[in-house]
Symmetry: C2
Subunit: 244 residues, 2 copies
């Protein structure tokens, strides 16, 4: 797939932000003044790049301040990208289950997540192919945040990713859970102790299952979006330890 | 109880180390060049100050580099301080239970810990009285590490302690566990995920029970003594956030 830059702007602190398309996939690349810089892939929930832009740009500026390039792409089925019917149905089922106060079934979790992972992971890999060929982006590569199932699968199949910061903030299909033991790169896992959209015990079991010799879990109080600033800074230092 | 300084030396980085006695209790005070400095009380396991000295001095130098004074005292029944028969028996019972691969009973945990907490906590408070009257030691005060049951009781009864870094590394008597909900100061809790001397689920339950609105859990791989350097640095930053 061919990479085309579509726009460019300078943010404060001399960070260069370039929007691109990779085939049909929109994305954004941020690079610091110092180049070539190691790359952090910024994962995000499937809410659309436009909606996520302020938080992504803030994370990218933090990364640039630490000397990292950062990049993200629109997830399949988000933003202006085509939906698929099964995902729409699964989302409706999830909403119904939550409103009824019922447990979210494995079927819903699988339908919601597995096709997304299957589509998104090769796209992240194609993005890596394209970005790593640019003169101002180098290795090694880290993956940060977003849908944890995508992070797990990427950590298993993509050897260019050498460290991952994961957010234990969404349901993980059994098939993905069972791959956790194959993850061997250093992991920095954030957990919101009272996350309304996440089962705490399942998150602890997942952390335990990862095969990595170096993994750390950082649990903080509050709900899904309440990650405290110092926890984000701890994740920044994790990447500095492992990508520099 | 009267505080008497018994020796003084300068460590590197202009850290001043003074040994003292408070009544019958030996202790050590480290102060940075900048004074008055907020104080961190350095807890430690009951293995004797002489044995613990290298690790305590290293922690004190880190604290001084962040602008903190640090102090520690010999625990009751450790070092040259008088033993008491019940604690010696409990220690022997613990050893026997572990060698036999049996669970450690509540009776052993209580006998090992409750008298130690009852004796140690007023001694730490008397140490605070004495040290806070010195011109180069100021508030606020943090408590760091050591026997977690002592840290919990201190956090409940001593209002001058405004933040605590605790190490989930030892058995906690039921009576102390039940006080955890009364702890309301910010907490930074370290957990070694595969700690041979600690029950992981009990440590997670204890973390959940703390009443503090701001508490964070930092779990790392490895056994009791394998706390990685970056985890210690995270605890340093916690005190900088809360004592400065």
């Amino acid at each position: 797939m061919a990479l085309h830059f579509t726009s460019e702007q300078r943010l404060e602190d001399d960070v260069r932000e370039r929007r691109f398309t990779l085939g049909e996939i929109p994305g954004i690349l941020w690079t610091p003044a110092s180049a070539p810089a190691p790359l952090i892939l910024l994962g995000h929930p499937p809410l659309g790049l436009d909606k996520m832009y302020p938080r992504l740009a803030a994370r990218a500026r933090h990364a640039a301040a630490d000397g990292f390039a950062a990049a993200t792409i629109e997830l399949p089925g988000s933003g202006d990208r085509p939906r698929w019917a099964a995902a729409e149905e699964a989302r409706a089922d999830l909403r119904r289950a939550r409103e009824a106060g019922e447990p979210v079934s494995d079927e819903i979790i699988d339908a919601l997540t597995l096709p997304l992972v299957d589509k998104a992971v090769p796209e992240w890999q194609a993005t890596l192919d394209a970005l790593l060929s640019l003169p101002d982006v180098g290795g090694p590569v880290g993956y940060s945040g977003g849908v944890i199932s995508i992070g797990i699968r990427l950590a298993v199949v993509e050897p260019r990713i050498v460290a991952a910061g994961l957010f234990a903030g969404s349901y993980v299909p059994r098939a993905i859970f069972e791959q956790a033991c194959q993850v061997t790169i250093p992991l920095h896992v954030l957990l919101q102790w009272d996350d309304e959209g996440n089962d705490r015990q399942a998150a602890l079991d997942l952390f335990d299952a990862f095969g990595s010799a170096e993994k750390s879990l950082h649990a903080n109080m509050g709900g899904h979006t309440g990650v405290p600033q110092h926890a984000g800074e701890g994740a920044d230092r994790f990447f500095t330890r492992h990508l520099k």
